[in-house]
């Protein structure tokens, strides 16, 4: 018999019913909720007189709208009334339906994709959904993790199942070792640059190869997080000792005998040697350079030593036009060196890069330096309350503050600028988030996606630099 891929195994283990028409019911072990995509789902349940199928599978927290400064007055203190209503609505819905929620003032509050793994609410082999496309993050644990829409949030609440069609299998293999100073973010941006933002559409991507095996859980999460930017709803990394060590003692993780039993199962969560993938993409780890996005789509990236492209050199007319439009929006000239891009703001945080390791990397770069006076603002927003506490225990907050960066409370913040943190028109921002679409970080704002270390280096210099030069 042909071997199974990790995705095949996860699919089979969660298959409740295969329907004749090709669709299937997939059982959902963990459902994460936040305030933006859930209100209409709860409303739908109420209107239909339905109850959640299984309460203990759900975990909620507000993240998109929460302020990252001055929380002294709690939810009532949220200045924007519409943001406040969403947070209040989540609180009300969770209370009414009996769903566990880490409320805004709870130390465990944070971005859903940070708190799931942090709490051990994300465990290897689980099927996980959340009304947020970056749910693919959890695939780093060998999970089947999908981003879903609000109708599906309601569907999962009511039935504990998701209607899905099986996707095709893609392996993205990163061979050999990564160079010094190269992070998970650089790897995933390089992958997206290579396969394009639709390259993974219809596929579940497994990231493998020596370079991935060598990465920490945080870095694997960064990579899986951005699978969706490559068009894939699902991104995964096989379970290994790194995974098991990370989850073992987390609050929601199994204890005692149950843990041993779980570990035995977790160890089977990898693709078989004979497994066949529908598509394989290979990268050499040693060739991955620190990446910077120059355009308005995550595939528009270049190595920091490279240049902004010349649209005239692009043969495909649709792509050429895309480049012209992006350069106009970004206010960049063809062929200019990436290191000539000047910045107005720096944002370090988000579900892509708001974990403790990310903050450590950024702190190591800024330590003993000052933020460039040409910058209007540089801020660090931890991904969760617990990341914040840990960073403070390690003294990272002091390093940032001494260097002139702002140290904030946890949330999505400037990743999508739903709260008060946003870019002004025409401003360039080095951001560790995941999307550089027009207007994503504020109307007319210009986002450059980079790793935390690269963002930190840019903060010190006021323009992009190769962070590896600062490390020497």
């Amino acid at each position: 018999m042909a071997g199974k891929t990790l995705y095949d195994k996860l699919w089979d283990d969660h298959l409740v019913k295969q329907r004749d028409d090709g669709s299937a019911l997939i059982y959902i072990d963990r459902h994460l909720l936040h305030e933006v995509t859930s209100p209409q789902a709860f409303e739908g349940l109420r209107l239909a007189g339905r109850k959640p199928w299984r309460l203990d599978a759900n975990l909620a927290t507000p993240d998109h709208n929460v302020p990252t400064t001055d929380r002294a007055r709690g939810v009532e203190g949220i200045v924007d009334p519409v943001s406040r209503i969403q947070v209040e609505t989540l609180d009300k819905n969770c209370d009414e339906f009996g769903i566990l929620e880490f409320k805004m003032m709870d130390q465990r509050q944070g971005i859903v994709h940070v708190i799931g793994p942090e709490q051990g609410a994300t465990l290897p082999g689980m099927s996980i959904v959340c009304g947020d496309s970056h749910t693919s993050t959890h695939g780093a644990f060998g999970c089947l993790a999908h981003g879903i829409g609000t109708s599906e949030v309601e569907h999962v609440l009511a039935t504990q199942c998701l209607v899905q069609q099986k996707m095709k299998n893609m392996l993205v293999k990163v061979n050999g070792k990564l160079g010094a100073g190269i992070t998970g973010k650089d790897v995933v941006l390089a992958v997206i640059g290579k396969i394009g933002t639709a390259g993974g559409t219809g596929y579940a991507i497994e990231f493998g190869g020596e370079a991935i095996r060598d990465l920490s859980m945080e870095a694997r999460m960064t990579i899986c997080n951005m699978s969706i930017e490559a068009g894939a709803r699902v991104g995964m990394v096989a379970v290994d000792q790194t995974t098991i060590d990370y989850v073992k003692d987390r609050p929601f993780a199994p204890k005692g005998d149950m843990r041993d039993k779980a570990i035995e199962y977790w160890k089977t969560l990898h693709s078989d040697d004979e497994a066949v993938f529908d598509k394989v993409v290979e990268l050499e780890g040693s060739e991955v350079m620190p990446q910077v996005s120059w355009g308005t789509s995550p595939e528009m990236v270049a190595g920091v030593g490279g240049h902004v492209p010349d649209p005239d050199a692009e043969a495909d007319p649709i792509k050429r036009e895309g480049i012209v439009r992006a350069l106009k929006y970004m206010g960049l000239t063809p062929k200019m060196p990436i290191t000539d891009i000047k910045l107005d703001r720096v944002f370090i945080g988000s579900c892509t890069n708001g974990r403790i390791e990310d903050l450590r990397e950024a702190a190591a770069v800024v330590k003993g330096h000052k933020v460039s006076p040409t910058l209007k603002q540089a801020m660090v927003v931890p991904g969760s309350g617990l990341v914040k506490v840990q960073a403070e225990q390690e003294g990272l907050d002091k390093i940032f503050i001494e260097a002139g960066l702002e140290w904030r409370d946890p949330g999505c913040s400037m990743c999508l600028a739903m709260n008060a943190d946003k870019l002004g028109q025409g401003e360039h921002c080095a951001s560790t988030s995941n999307r550089n679409f027009e207007g994503r970080q504020g109307f007319g704002g210009r986002t450059h996606l980079v790793s935390p270390a690269m963002a930190a280096a840019a903060a010190i210099n006021g323009h992009f630099v190769d962070v590896r030069e600062m490390m020497n």
Partner: protein, 215 residues
């Protein structure tokens, strides 16, 4: 949910690839806790010259005359013609809600982002994939002829042009069935409640740590 069997309507051309969900409905409008009323803010940043905010009277805002939906000939469009990878970006269902609220019933493109494609069916919108050459042609015909309409038949899985030319498209049977009948997915799934319970019971045996956890 609104059913869709046949539809005929004016075509509006959205001539750019990779239209993302932030472009379809900027995030400041995601703060609503309702499902309706997003239509006036569809493509907000392209449609208006000022920065959109929730609770604005959109009829008083300065419009971008170059944007196609602001041209009289496309104002009553109900079929959106689009380019590659339409709907990429976030999982926000506000994107199909906004398209539906504006009055669209059908979107035709050479390819769609997965989550968006899926979300359309749940909101009475039919996304149709036609190959790039056909889409190209439809763009040319739409632009050449004011009031250009396409007729869509979901039962027969065809798109028909005014000249009577017909193209077939693929759509999976379950989604088609639900959309044809305006069926609510949840109701359909709950018909299998016993199967779900049986799965759960066996899973409790083999993977008990997945149940009852709560920090």
């Amino acid at each position: 949910m609104r059913a869709l069997k046949q539809h005929k309507g004016i075509v509006a051309p959205m001539d750019r690839s990779n239209v993302d969900t932030d472009m379809i409905i900027p995030k400041q409008f995601l703060k609503s806790i309702k499902r309706t009323g997003f239509g006036p803010n569809l493509f907000d940043e392209l449609r208006y010259l000022d920065e959109g905010r929730p609770d604005q009277d959109c009829s008083k805002r300065p419009i971008n005359p170059d944007f196609m939906l602001n041209q009289d000939r496309y104002k009553n469009a109900s079929v959106l013609l689009a380019r590659r990878n339409f709907g990429c970006g976030s999982s926000r269902e506000h994107a199909p809600w906004a398209l539906e609220d504006f009055g669209f019933h059908v979107i035709i493109a050479p390819s769609f982002a997965d989550i968006f494609y899926n979300n359309c069916f749940k909101n009475g919108l039919l996304p149709i994939v036609l190959n790039e050459e056909i889409v190209d042609r439809l763009f040319r015909e739409t632009e050449a002829e004011e009031g250009y309409q396409l007729a869509i038949d979901l039962e027969a899985k065809t798109v028909t042009t005014p000249s009577g030319e017909s193209f077939t498209f693929e759509v999976d049977d379950f989604r088609r069935h639900c959309l044809l009948n305006g069926l609510d997915d949840i109701g359909v799934t709950l018909e299998d409640a016993e199967v779900i319970k049986a799965y759960e019971a066996s899973r409790r045996e083999t993977a008990p740590w997945l149940f009852g956890a709560g920090g």
